[in-house]
């Protein structure tokens, strides 16, 4: 009887799993592999003939495409800056607000709020803040030209990203802090440890897994950043804030080079795959050593 029932579950396996997998294949996996093929061709996306050119696109991207190099450097620099600043501020928030009083809960909600609004709307909102509101406030903000100089544009994007993400990583740190056994702190207090010592010697070592998670979340987000930059600076001035994601988009859909765009997309995939591999390695190591 039970044998028969188990067989029933097996028989329906295809019925339940096939359709979503087919959709996933058609729109995700298959295009991903077609992209690999496109990267070996020259094609504008419209014309009937697709010319096979071998590895020429890749060579051109590395040798002649200065914009791509600028984008790569920008993306890595920005990702590093974002990881450090979002996590420092998020950790600071968590230390301030991890006790669940009413006041703290209200503040947590306020700090997380920017995170639910999408990159494109935030980009336009902050374009107004930088262009009109800050100069109107005056003082040190009076004569800053946020979008005219590469450095300033970089910081403008960083400020918005930190504003958007710090509350989010705060939640992860708080969840991690609140899972620490309260007895540890009691024991430390009896031994006369100051609250600073309690933080450095108990809290910090025990929230290391939260560090790893938060850093890689911010890393994944900022490395692939698109909408926020698209709306805020459009990649300017002079392409200085063009992220890799934006560079690939422009190559394919603004300049109509599907072949070169696909080669860049493959290189981008390799970067992301390496970062993901590091994440897995790093997370496993940490878990063992704890």
């Amino acid at each position: 009887m039970l044998q028969k029932l188990k067989k029933g579950i097996l028989n329906n396996f295809a019925l339940y799993t096939f359709f979503p997998y087919a959709v996933f294949l058609v729109f995700v996996l298959v295009p991903f592999f077609i992209g690999g093929y496109y990267s070996l061709t020259e094609w504008n996306g419209v014309s009937r003939n697709i010319d096979f050119v071998g590895l020429r696109n890749y060579l051109e991207v590395f040798r002649e495409d200065e914009g791509f190099i600028v984008s790569t450097v920008f993306t890595f620099k920005f990702t590093l800056a974002a990881c450090v600043s979002v996590n420092l501020l998020g950790l600071f928030y968590a230390v301030m607000f991890h006790n669940s009083t009413r006041w703290n809960s209200a503040l947590r909600v306020i700090l997380v709020l920017p995170n639910v609004i999408g990159g494109i709307i935030l980009g336009f909102v902050w374009r107004f803040i930088f262009a009109q509101a800050l100069p109107a406030i005056g003082g040190i903000f009076e004569n800053l030209s946020w979008f005219g100089q590469p450095d300033m544009a970089f910081y403008a994007i960083l400020i918005v990203l930190v504003w958007q993400q710090a509350g989010y990583v705060m939640l992860i740190y708080i969840a991690s802090m609140n899972s620490i056994d309260e007895q540890l702190f009691e024991a430390a207090r009896i031994d006369g440890a100051s609250s600073f010592r309690q933080f450095t010697d108990i809290t910090l070592p025990l929230i290391v897994p939260a560090f790893t998670v938060s850093i890689f979340i911010v890393l994944a987000y900022s490395f692939k950043i698109f909408g926020l930059i698209f709306a805020l600076t459009g990649g300017g001035p002079f392409g200085s804030t063009e992220s890799l994601a934006l560079n690939i988009y422009n190559e394919a859909f603004v300049y109509g080079n599907y072949g070169t765009g696909s080669a860049k997309a493959v290189i981008f995939f390799v970067f992301v795959a390496i970062l993901s591999y590091l994440q897995v390695r790093f997370t496993q190591k940490r878990e063992v050593s704890l």
């Binding site: 097996l10 298959v30 301030m96 607000f97 997380v112 999408g118 709307i121 107004f128 698209f230 994601a245």
Partner: protein, 275 residues
């Protein structure tokens, strides 16, 4: 009443200041959205001399707000509905059946989570256009494909906490596969379903690049992010018309956040711990 310790007072003062700074962009956008153009340019920090809602009227008309609002709802409901419906059923079988095919499917779902969207988008446009999917309904279906890995991952993990005995006792009570799933198992997944609906809705509702590639050829298909973007393309610094649109674009999100605040905070915290 207990006297408040001075350091406590300092804490309140400092954190209140922090809240004001964090919320200030919303404040500036909101107050300026009811000012005239010259007033905005003259002093964006000042309060409005008189409140004019005509900005909103003009903005709603120019961006065709009710149409793009409807499209956003359509794409989000269709997309998330399909993810939950098909994802939960598939995850059940993938969790219970440990065959080679099952493991292969699951591993490809997980591996695909690494692939950045930019490495798929160029051929995706070609494939979607060949399959006549360049419309909101098509976009909803495409989201099933992109949302399936995370949906399956979360549901399949959750099934480890749903005892297998529940499946078997349901079967013995005469349920068929379908009624067993929908009447007995699916209600058990409620917490996870809430998390999935929240995470995926935030993503789909806010998503910009995929809708841009699929829907940009027809203004009547625009979602809210697309409408706002095209508006800024045409009226570069027309802040008097643009700000009301930004406010209207944020209202659904802020409203949803304040209503379902507890669930949303829990979901995004949980997504971090699992990711």
């Amino acid at each position: 009443m207990k006297p408040i310790h001075p350091s406590r007072l300092l804490f309140y003062f400092f954190t209140l200041l922090l809240a004001i700074v964090v919320l200030s962009p919303f404040y500036f956008v909101l107050t300026n959205s009811v000012k005239s153009y010259s007033e905005i340019i003259l002093d964006a920090a000042a309060l409005p001399k008189e409140v004019t809602l005509s900005n909103y009227q003009v903005g709603i008309e120019k961006v065709n707000f009710w149409q793009i609002f409807y499209n956003s709802i359509l794409v989000t409901v269709l997309g998330i509905g399909g993810m939950v419906l098909f994802g939960s059923m598939a995850a059940w079988k993938l969790a219970r059946v440990k065959s080679k095919v099952s493991m292969f499917m699951y591993s490809t779902y997980i591996l695909a989570m690494i692939i950045p969207f930019q490495s798929i988008m160029i051929p995706l446009v070609v494939v979607s256009s060949k399959l006549q999917m360049l419309h909101p309904v098509g976009l909803g279906v495409i989201y099933w494909g992109f949302g399936m890995p995370l949906t399956i991952f979360l549901y399949r993990g959750y099934f480890n906490y749903v005892p297998r005995e529940l499946d078997e006792s349901g079967m013995l009570d005469g349920c068929n596969d379908f009624t067993l799933f929908w009447q007995i198992l699916f209600p058990q997944l409620r917490t996870m379903t809430t998390t999935i609906v929240i995470l995926q809705s935030l993503w789909v509702w806010n998503d910009f690049l995929l809708p841009l590639l699929i829907l940009q050829h027809d203004r009547d298909y625009f979602t809210i992010p697309l409408g706002i973007n095209s508006f800024f393309g045409v009226y570069k610094a027309q802040w008097d018309m643009a700000l009301p649109i930004l406010v209207l674009g944020m209202i659904p999100l802020i409203a949803a956040f304040l209503i379902a605040q507890k669930h949303i905070v829990r979901s995004i915290a949980a997504s971090g711990l699992k990711g």
